[in-house]
């Protein structure tokens, strides 16, 4: 069976890709996709730690991840709605252009 570190490495790899996407891309939708990747990396960690825990029969990890995916879905919906609203307002999805909160 694949050891825990393999899952963790995969999860870290996924997180890094998500983070890089979120940090470097200008398009708001790509940034959202990066965020979803990082969330899923976190979900993978939950599952991995649950599976290798002392009481895998309690289903706690599954519960967390299902909630997390639900929240992430809601978040994605809100995020996409925001991006559409921003696009309607600014006629762009470039996050660098969206600096009206600048001090």
């Amino acid at each position: 069976m694949t050891p825990l570190s393999g899952y963790l490495l995969l999860s870290a790899f996924l997180f890094a890709i998500g983070l890089a996407g979120a940090l470097t891309r200008r398009n708001g939708i790509i940034v959202l996709i990066g965020i979803e990747l990082m969330l899923n990396a976190a979900n993978l960690n939950f599952i991995a730690f649950w599976r290798f825990s002392e009481h895998p029969e309690t289903l706690t990890g599954i519960m967390f991840v299902i909630f997390s995916i639900g929240v992430a879905a809601a978040e994605a919906a809100v995020g996409l709605a925001l991006i559409i609203a921003i696009y309607r307002h600014y006629k762009t999805t470039d996050v660098d252009e969206m600096d009206s909160l600048k001090g």
């Binding site: 983070l19 979120a22 940090l23 470097t24 940034v31 996050v95 660098d96 969206m98 600096d99 009206s100 909160l101 600048k102 001090g103």
Partner: protein
Amino acid sequence: MAWIVKNLWLIPALPILAAGFTAIAKQSARKFAATLAIGSMVLSLLLSLCAFAHALQFSGHGEETRQVFNFNWFQFGDQWLQLGWVLGPLTAVMLVMVSFVGLMIFIYSVGYMAHDENFTRFFCFLSLFAGAMLGVVIANSLLLLFISWELVGLTSYLLIGFWYHKPSASAAAKKAFITTRIGDVLFLLGMVWLYAQSGTLLFYDHGAGCLEQSALAKMVAQTTGIGMAVSTAIGLLIFAGAVGKSGQVPLHVWLPDAMEGPTPVSALIHAATMVAAGVFLVARVYPLMATHLAGAAVETTALQVITWIGAITAFFAASIAVAQNDIKRILAYSTVSQLGYMMMGLGVGGVAVGMFHLITHAFFKSLLFMGAGSVIHGCHEEQDIRHMGGLRKFMPVTFVTYAAGMLALCGFPLFFSGFWSKDEILHSAHNWPVSPWPFYLGVAGALLTAFYMMRQVCYVFFGKERLPASQSSHSHSDSHSAAAHANHSSTPHESPTVMTIPLAVLAAFAILLGFIGTPAWPWFQRFLGGKVEAGFNAGMVSLMISSSIVVFLGLGLAWWFYGRQPIEKAEAPDALEKLRPDLFGLLQNKYFIDEIYEATIIRFNAWWATVCDFLDTWVWNGAVQAISYFVLGLSWLNRLIDEYVVNLGFDEGCHGVRGGGKFMSRLQDGRVQNYLRVLGIALVVLVLILVWGWHAA
């Protein structure tokens, strides 16, 4: 006639009212002013006569010799301050004297002041004076007496300075006011002390007044720090007021200078009434002076002091009068001297003796002053007796009346009032148990009195006329005198009838008044003082003879010096001056009293004023300045702190906050990815710390 006691206030109120009306009248309302003043005086005289008659009535019955009317004035704390008036023999005779002499002088003034442009003002002041003086006389409260007393002083000041454009007159007015003030301050102290001791300022209040038995007994029993009875100390303080007003040594210096006022003023205020107010005051509070403990010395200290001061003044002023050349100044010193006699009379013989001389003196001295005024008027405002002479021919009425007054003043035997009153004083002084010296001084004064009066009469009425050719040299530079003189010839002339009639009336009184107080029929003494034995005794007769000899000696000596050969030239030196120039100079300069005061008290006062001014400028002002500079420095420091510490700190704070804000706002650039980057870096750092920490643990 009992209504008069309650309404006694009308007597002074009428002239004061007249003064009030005159004060608001126009300056040109001469006839109105004179009529009002004389009318009010006539009414006052009538009321005074009523009061006198009433006093005669009830004092004859041997019951209470005085009637009082007291009322509450105002309340302070739980005490009422009371004022009131008293009608007794003393008040009655003074009332009649003051209103009668006042009336004569008012009438005389109509003639004397006829050319003065301030005629209305003069009558206003004169009426006010008469009212105030009558107020002094009727007062039954030391406070009411003091108020009137000060009013009298004020009007005296106003009238001495009546010709205020003359610098000498305004200086004399100030001198009179300030000198009398010295006495008045002590008088006020005495009054306050009396109030503290007896709790009342009423003289007579049915047994509760301060001059009645219970209060006196209390005050006599107590002694002050220097072993003097309290009543004596208070009496001496009150006497100090009398010394100031009555021109006794050492406060006599103002009275001769007061002759700068118009002559009727000199006659009324500075001869007959105001200066006699001091004597009257002593007579009024006489019980306070004279009461002593049972079994103690016969004479109280207060009476001894009064006697000595009176005797010294009597001799001292008479000697100065010998060497004066101003007709009014001679009379002024004579007044001072006679006031000394009155004081001495009060000291040695009691109320009746002093008051008798006061009354007779008021008549003959106002007569003399008015005669002098008539002479001055007739000689075109000439006052120097060396420039008169021979006026007997030009002014017969004035001469005769003046001679009557002069003989009364000298004490010419038997027919003149001055003889009887002065002789009584000398007789009492002769019997004085303490010391014979007041008697000797009195006799010497009598000799000098006869001498200087004869000298004056020789200079003025006898000899050759010596009026200077140019008339304007010695006038008061009044605008009126020039106008008046234009109508006159240069020779002396008799005064108008309105001036000579009062002279004649007063001359009659100067002769007749003596007969109410002769030893053969001492009506006056009985009226004032109770039981007096009538009739002569051997000592009295011998004393009368010797005093007559003294008078004749004085008259004869003066005649020998000045009348034997008629004085030809005004420039000729005085006969006494040829004899003893040193002594004459000393007397002519009034013993240099003015100069001594100038060199000591006035210089000290000026020095003290300079010191005070110096203290004011440098010490007190310096202290104030220093404090204000200190405060100024403090506030300057405050401002600095405010400006550079508080303000700057605040500004810097604001600046810092603004800078911080700017820096912080630069961080918040609104780019979500930047925030995320920071988060990412922070995460890495956190992980690193955790890993490092885990390893360290």
